[in-house]
Amino acid sequence: MQRKDLRRLGIGLAAMSIVLAGCGDDGDSDTSAGLEGDPIKIGVAISETGPLASSVESAVGAARAWARQTNEDGGLGGRPVEIVIEDTKGEAGAAQAAVRSLVEDDGVVALVLADAVAEGSVAEYIAGQDIPVIGAGGYAPSVWNGTPNFFAVSPNSATVITSLVTAAAAADAQNFSSAVCAESATCASDASQVFEPSTQASGLSYSGYVTVNATQSSYTAECLGFQEQDADFIALLLSVDTNVRVMQDCVAQGYEGVFGTSSSSFNPVEYSAISGMRMVGTLNGFPWWADDPQVERYRSALEEYESDTNPASTSGTTMWSSLELFKKAIGDDTADISRESVLASYYALQDETLDGLLPSPVTFSEGQPSPSVDCFWQYDYTAGDENPTLLAPSGESGNGAEGDLATACLDSAGADS
């Protein structure tokens, strides 16, 4: 009797699962009426779902909002733009399928790729397809600064991690330490190789790093270890939620120094609750709080078209600036847009900064991979503040902008210029 019941219950649950699995929507695109001509399609391969989806959440909303705003403002040279979103699911196999399906769509003239886990698995394939990858964010140096057809407009993750050392120096810290994620490379990204030489070059002392798991119930032991070493800057290369707990535990143990984290893990909304926390770090996308009109456009677009999306995220701002660069590159004569023409337009760019939306002027040369972007925005954030404060660069601004859009740069030795 029990078995039959179990079986019925099981079949019911199973049927329900199948139905529910089939429901749900795909990522889709936005077109606007009133514009003429075939839409110009930009394919976005992004991990909408998957374990690290939260770090690129704002990017999806930013892409959609950008498309709506652009079409409202008259499209691209009068033609509507269409964003085609394919979910890479944060998984190599699904990423290959997603990218392939975008490449095989002849209407797609450019790709945006935002998946830290899977970008390696698709890079070679894309390079062989003569389709430009125009953004956004970008993680691995060998992909974004080492593969043809990739146009890097923001610092890669290695630069961002190294820049945490400059951030520590900017915060007047003496002793640099780090907590690195044990389960996934995207949190860690080569920290072990990078910190020791950069701290030496910047004149800070380095007290090593620990690996931590998201599953730990307490980080007190790690925080005690940092205390023992007198660390006053702790670089956290972890996910947002783990960062929150580590910072809470360390502050609870009396830590009074500064924290730092990678760009994609900087979430002031979550961090504002940790009273007593101060963070100095790096953004790879423009600061969303700046008063400049080009940034205001970003915020108002999100507010109007994608109000559920959190604008306070560099995944959003890097997506926005990548798409804005696309618009600038192809210009107003959009009658014949193809993958080749887009590539040519990008190679024609000279020292473009989008008035401060890009961290440093970009120039691309045909036949060569993108040069590494070594400039970034540095911020100082105390829990409870409405917005972070931008740290002014100690030398020249990397992108020539002033105020909240000015960037600091690594010089060749790895210290702040």
Partner: protein, 907 residues
């Protein structure tokens, strides 16, 4: 130094306390139900999610939310688990594990479908929870102190309950013998239900208490509780206070190691892998008797239907043909198919371990990862040709897999699974992030494809070719000797051991082979996604659980069950909703639980079987050799038989056999009789080598064999049958009987275990046929052993003993289950065997008529001592024997006449 360590110790105690609560609930349910709930953490996670729903989303007061999620939901879960556990109680270990894994998948799937992958943050809700007190140099919150206090109270109360109350005592008894508990007036079902309720409530308590510290994320919570397995291991899976202490020790040690890890990169990952190292260590070091599962009969696996060869090849061609057509319709989804095929290779190798050999392994994804990492290193450092790097890279896995055979030697079922799980988790924590493994970089290690295979379609065919090669290899293995002895090992392990097979070597071999193919699969997968990255889901320890659940769902024989891996990998391509993966997990989990509860996949329905047999003919075994009239084995004159002197066997303080001496010479049948509990089977087990005596000697043909293993004695000529029959039910009668001679041919030699020479095959066939004829069951040779009547099965066991070169046969109650006619025929068979072959038989029997008729010599045991020795006539008339069997007349208070007694004893 102590001052510096103290803060870490205090910090570690608080984490240990939480682990202690989780571990306690786990040990409780294991002790009382015999089911180790790998899904214990899933219960914790579910309760935590409900708490979040009530406290954070519905904004209830904290204690009401607490009460509902722990006090109401916990017991509810417990009742559901109790029902599942009743269905699982008699299933074999693999299925129990699959069911608990299914629970993990269901909760994880539901959680990610509703809440996504991000942990839910829960604010600290305990009163004054966030206020801080300084203790031993570290700031502790009142919440942490409260948690420790709760844990001490709860665990202490449970310990007292177990010791003092009647129900507690009943709980400890019920796992071993529920019927016995029932006889004493306690309802075993009610007792087990209560145990599950308490256990699940503990799980819920640990989940809700820990939620503010860790956030709520179901895989994470599940693995937190997996850390509690390490604590349970310290408590030898039975002592609740030791489990709690073990949890504290693990917490403190992990914390202290963290202190040194900051300075010393070599220690990276050690802190988080400690619980798994404890688990593995405890399983390897605990005395074996602590790890013996309670001796309840397990339902044997359902025999898969054996189709005719023509059908198998036909289906094979169709399947491969369909797979070859995939690139024509897959389009941009090709990568899903390619990955699916690599996972099919992985599943084939896991099936070899789990299905064929019956060894449950939960670290298969780790083997794949090791293969991939080795391949990446070989390509990078030595620039070897691709195929060489593939073959060598997979070879690196072999010694690692061999290492795992070590626990396999002393553990079985659940404990082997736990040891492999602990191993997989420890390797993941300690090594995956190292530079020489996957490294910590976002890209990971490049996994190139061979030159000319970069195109995805061409690569798909390469992977398909690898799958076909693996499938063929598996089929060849199954048909060769190793396949036969693995099946024997899986379904009748005691039998093959006593027949002379060195089962440790067998386990080693099968782990090595399975590890090799898993390495190949890992390399092919890595090359499909171009990089082997830290964090790739297919290399994680969690994925090993998913693999096992996937394997359990398929009822088909090798290699078709592997096709499910392709289906599973491809579904997300075509059902492209946001939560497909999550709902798939739920689906898998539900089916896993259902399938496990009903004893495995459903066999092919009879209607289909009949149709197939009509079209394609029945499965045909090899034509039998002409039975030789001459005996294949003759007993040499030097074989004198068994002589036992002053044998004493003790069990935990009780003396089961006390200084018993007897002889069972060749050429006759010797009887060993006595009332129930006299120690007959114990004596048998000691003589055949399955038990170590406390003192005494056992001589075989004049040689002292007391120190030799059961297999060694088997090879020297001691054969035996079992009271609880040990037959491979899914093999045919002929195959079972052949195991008798093949086991000793395989013996301790690697070549012998893998392959049979043509001479050996001839000998096997002849000996098998002769044994079948001798026992009169030659017409049953192609029937599956599981489909026979008890009487026929007894004869098969006897024939198995006779096929090999055994000169002394130990027969343990061979007539039980036989009707009088069958018993008489059996007796005749035994007499004929002794006449023809000249071997000796030692017979333990309850059927007095049989014993008195065929035995030349009889020994009578009672209460472990030798009571009487004499001829059948002497036994028949001995008042001592009568008293032993019937009790003394004065006690019985019945006046029994002498001739009535004689009537009972004389035919």
């Amino acid at each position: 130094m102590w001052n510096a360590l103290l803060p870490f110790v205090v910090a570690g105690l608080t984490t240990g306390a939480i682990l202690g609560i989780a571990g306690t609930g786990l040990v409780l349910t294991y002790k009382t139900s015999g089911i180790f709930n790998i899904g214990h953490g899933a219960v914790a996670a579910a309760a935590a999610f409900v708490f979040h729903l009530l406290y954070v989303e519905q904004e209830m007061t904290w204690w009401l939310a607490f009460l509902l999620s722990v006090g109401v939901l916990g017991p509810l879960f417990g009742l559901v688990l109790a029902v599942i556990s009743r269905a699982l109680a008699e299933q074999r270990a693999a299925l129990k594990i699959v069911a608990t894994v299914g629970m993990v998948l269901v909760v994880q799937g539901l959680a990610t479908a509703y809440y996504g992958y991000n942990p839910l943050l829960v604010p600290q809700y305990l009163p004054s929870g966030t206020e801080v007190v300084r203790l031993g140099g570290v700031n502790i919150t009142y919440a942490q102190v409260t948690v420790v206090a709760i844990s001490l109270v709860a665990v202490g109360a449970l310990y007292v309950f177990f010791r003092v109350s009647r129900t507690g005592l009943a709980m400890r008894a019920v796992v071993n013998d529920p019927e016995l508990v029932g006889l004493h007036g306690t309802d075993p079902v009610r007792v087990q239900r209560l145990a599950w309720v308490i256990g699940a409530t503990f799980a819920a308590l640990s989940g809700v208490l820990i939620a503010p510290f860790t956030g709520i994320e179901s895989v994470a919570l599940t693995f937190l509780v997996v850390q509690a397995f390490g604590a349970a291991a310290v408590g030898a899976f039975s002592s609740i206070p030791l489990t709690y202490v073990g949890a504290l020790v693990i917490g403190v040690l992990s914390s202290v190691v963290t202190k040194y890890a900051l300075d010393n990169q070599a220690l990276r990952g050690l802190s988080s892998s400690l619980p798994f190292i404890f688990l593995l260590g405890a399983l390897l070091l605990l005395p074996k008797r602590k790890l013996d599962a309670p001796a309840r009969a397990e339902r044997p696996p359902r025999s898969p239907w054996q189709g005719p060869d023509r059908l198998r090849y036909g289906v094979g061609v169709v399947v491969v043909g369909l797979l070859a057509l995939v690139p024509t319709f897959a389009g941009s989804n090709l990568s899903f198919f390619t990955i699916g095929v690599t996972q099919a290779i992985l599943l084939l190798s896991l099936g070899l371990l789990v299905r064929t050999a019956g060894l449950v392994s939960l670290c298969h994804a780790t083997f794949a990862a090791i293969g991939a990492a080795a391949f990446a290193q070989l390509i990078e450092r030595f620039d070897l040709p691709w195929l060489v790097a593939l073959l060598l890279g997979a070879l690196v896995v072999v010694p690692v897999a061999a290492l795992l055979a070590l626990p396999a030697i002393r553990l079985s079922g659940l404990f082997l699974a736990l040891a492999t799980l602990g191993f997989g988790l420890a390797v993941e924590q300690l090594f995956y992030s190292r530079d020489w493994f996957f490294s910590q970089t976002g890209l990971g290690k490049p996994m190139p494809r061979p030159a000319g295979f970069e195109d995805d379609t061409v690569w798909y065919y390469a992977v398909l070719a690898a799958f076909v090669v693996t499938a063929v290899a598996m089929m060849v293995l199954h048909r060769s000797r190793i396949g036969r002895i693995l099946q024997g090992l899986s379904e009748s392990p005691l039998a093959v051991r006593t027949l002379g097979l060195n089962v440790n070597l067998t386990r080693l071999i099968v782990f090595c082979i399975a590890g090799y193919f898993a390495g190949v699969a890992g390399i092919m997968y890595g090359a499909t996604v171009n990089f082997a990255v830290l964090g790739d889901s297919r290399y994680t320890a969690y994925y090993s659980l998913v693999l096992l659940a996937t394997l359990a769902l398929m009822p088909f024989r090798e290699p078709w069950y592997a096709v499910v891996a392709i289906v599973a990998a491809v579904i997300p391509a075509y059902i492209d909703a946001e939560d497909t993966a999550s709902w798939l997990n739920v689906l898998f989990g539900v089916f896993a639980v259902l399938v496990a509860c009903q004893g495995g996949g459903q066999p092919m329905p009879t209607v289909v079987r009949t149709w197939i047999e009509r079209r394609f003919g029945r499965a045909r075994a090899d034509a039998p050799e002409r039975a030789t009239t001459a005996e294949p084995w003759t007993v040499s004159p030097a074989s004198t038989g068994i002589e036992v002197r002053e044998l004493t066997v003790r069990y935990g303080g009780q003396t089961a056999v006390d200084a018993v001496s007897f002889a069972a010479p060749t050429g006759q049948i010797t009887g060993l009789i006595g009332p129930n509990g006299a120690g007959k089977t114990t004596t048998f087990n000691a003589v055949s080598g399955l038990l170590t005596p406390a003192s005494g000697t056992i001589r075989l043909h004049g040689d002292d064999v007391t120190r030799l293993s059961a297999a060694a004695r088997g090879r020297r000529g001691v054969g035996r049958t079992f009271q609880l029959m040990q037959l491979a039910d899914s093999l045919t009668v002929a195959q079972n009987v052949a195991l008798g001679v093949e086991s000793s041919m395989a013996g301790s030699r690697v070549r012998g275990q893998l392959l049979a020479t043509s001479a050996e095959r001839r000998t096997t066939a002849e000996a098998t046929e002769h044994a079948l004829e001798l026992c009169g069951i030659a017409d049953l040779r192609e029937r599956q052993a599981g489909s026979l009547s008890t009487g026929q099965r007894r004869l098969v066991e006897l024939a198995r003993c006779l096929s090999g070169r055994f000169d002394v046969l130990l027969l343990d109650e061979p007539s039980s289950g036989l009707d009088p006619v069958e018993t008489e025929q059996f007796g005749e068979t035994l007499l004929q065997v002794v006449r023809e072959r000249g071997c000796g038989i030692l017979l333990v029997e309850h059927d007095m008529e049989l014993v008195l008729r065929i035995c030349a010599d009889i020994y009578v045991l009672d209460f472990g001592k030798l009571l009487f020795h004499g001829t059948p006539q002497e036994v028949r008339t001995s008042p001592i024997v009568q008293a032993a069997y019937l009790g003394s007349f004065e006690d019985a208070g019945v006046d029994i006449e002498q001739d009535v007694i004689e009537e009972d004893l004389v035919p």
